[in-house]
């Protein structure tokens, strides 16, 4: 019989269809989603094409190299044609019963490597740790300079996930409001902290998951990779720091190396066990501390930052869109077992 599972934080229910569950092998595509051995005629993210991007706002580059010239290993540039206009948060305005505000935000692209054909999971550990530190630095900078309420770091990999270029990159969009998904998680965590557990629900869940082990994919000294209990998507994964912290910006340099290893493991297993599916990867963390401290006093006690990895192996259709109720044909325990089988060969 299928099982209905509740996401403890958001209250969202998921149908885990154990009865007709697909075998993990069913999700290995007939061919790799995006053959990447050949570079396109032109890529705006490749070295030598720096003039086609807006001037870089941050870069990790060789000492003797100049901004907006080759010689970089990581490059951060504003979106050339952004959906939101750059700037600081505008005031909220009213139009009758409705609220509106000017479309202002910050949208940056983090080009993760000069190598067009590289994969995030294939990057050397140090490079990946450096990318994570760049995410941290940009988050702090944007929160302190522009005062936006939330900085969303995300990665779309593969066409089906919305990526338009194969060249490895992540994006960051800072918004003048805290997105609903994040608010739901924060309110859920706060409610469970105050009314039920008197401790961070994520820390509690991590303890239980590590003891049970059935949904644990990988862990190192500082991070754990799990398939969430109420996973919405087949092979969905979540990466949690074992040290309690609400703010991604508080990650220390040592932890970035352990997170890099956890990411390599999670993404490498996806790539090699499921033949490189498209995926979306999102960071969930507490909003700008200037906002968090006022809106959610004590958030540092009950919220816990994390990363969600959502492979695109099924289509979200009418039922999911209409109800917010997801049907997952692969129980997370089966997914974890499959992903645990082999270590990522790229590590």
């Amino acid at each position: 019989m299928p099982e209905l599972r509740k996401d403890i934080l958001t209250g969202r229910w998921v149908i885990i269809s154990t009865e007709r569950s697909k075998r993990p092998d069913d999700f290995r595509p007939a061919e790799i989603s995006e053959p990447k051995k050949e570079s396109p005629a032109f890529c705006p993210f490749c070295p030598g094409n720096e003039s086609k991007t807006p001037p870089e706002v941050y870069a990790v580059r060789e000492d003797n190299s100049r901004p907006d010239q080759p010689g970089w290993t990581i490059r951060v540039v504003p979106n050339k044609f952004p959906a939101l206009q750059p700037g600081s948060p505008p005031p909220k305005k009213a139009r009758g019963s409705y609220q509106w505000m000017e479309g202002v935000g910050v949208h940056e692209v983090i080009i993760e490597t000069p190598d067009h054909n590289q994969e995030m999971s294939g990057l050397p550990l140090d490079n990946l740790a450096r990318i994570i530190r760049v995410f941290r630095e940009r988050t702090i900078n944007i929160e302190e300079v522009y005062h936006h309420q939330y900085v969303q770091i995300f990665k779309n990999k593969g066409k089906e996930a919305g990526a338009s270029l194969a060249h490895p990159h992540s994006q960051l969009i800072a918004t003048p409001i805290v997105p609903k998904r994040i608010k739901e998680e924060i309110y859920g965590a706060e409610r469970l902290y105050r009314n039920q557990f008197r401790e961070c629900v994520f820390c509690r869940m991590l303890r239980e998951e590590q003891a049970a082990g059935e949904r644990l994919v990988y862990r190192n000294e500082k991070f754990a990779v799990l398939t969430p209990y109420a996973s919405r998507f087949p092979f969905e994964m979540a990466i949690f720091p074992l040290r309690h912290s609400a703010f991604f910006r508080a990650i220390n340099d040592e932890e970035t190396v352990f997170l890099a290893e956890a990411l390599k493991q999670a993404l490498g297993r996806l790539r090699f066990q499921l033949e490189d599916p498209a995926y979306n990867l999102v960071y969930h963390h507490a909003p700008n501390p200037q906002v968090s401290e006022k809106a959610w006093p004590g958030i540092d006690s009950y919220y816990h930052w994390h990363i969600e990895v959502m492979p695109i192996l099924t289509k979200v259709a009418g039922f999911e869109l209409g109800t917010g109720f997801y049907i997952n044909p692969v129980p997370p325990e089966v997914a974890a077992e499959y992903l645990r089988k082999n270590e990522s060969p790229s590590s």
Partner: protein, 117 residues
């Protein structure tokens, strides 16, 4: 006289643009699809390219990618009815992304700006 290549599959629109831009003092050559545009670019001599995105055959994004493979120094303006292609980072090969409008003022200003560089 500066020479502009206008890639646009809508014939009446391309004639309108040609007339307006000729009035601004430019020589305007028309191409109705990406393939014929590429042929013209190969023959050389253009100071600027304006291209639509949705066209039969190769779309405008594929076109600018091919142009970049040949030469990167011609300024390109994307002129489309759709905002949604802004999410495609290949559009960064262009120097400007404009949404088609009944007024050509923005287009004319952008052309002047790019040709002044």
């Amino acid at each position: 006289m500066k020479k502009i290549l206008l890639v646009e599959d809508d014939k009446s629109l391309s004639l309108l643009y040609q007339e307006e831009l000729t009035g601004e003092g430019y020589e305007v050559v028309l191409a109705a699809d990406a393939e014929s545009a590429l042929e013209l670019v190969r023959s050389g001599g253009f100071d600027l390219i304006i291209t639509d995105i949705r066209m039969p055959g190769k779309d405008g994004i594929e076109l600018i990618s091919s142009i970049m493979g040949m030469r990167k120094d011609i300024p390109i303006i994307i002129n489309t009815a759709y905002q949604s292609y802004k999410g495609d980072f290949m559009t960064w090969a262009a120097d400007a992304y404009l949404i088609k409008s009944s007024s050509l003022d923005e287009l004319k200003t952008k052309i002047r700006e790019l040709l002044a560089d």
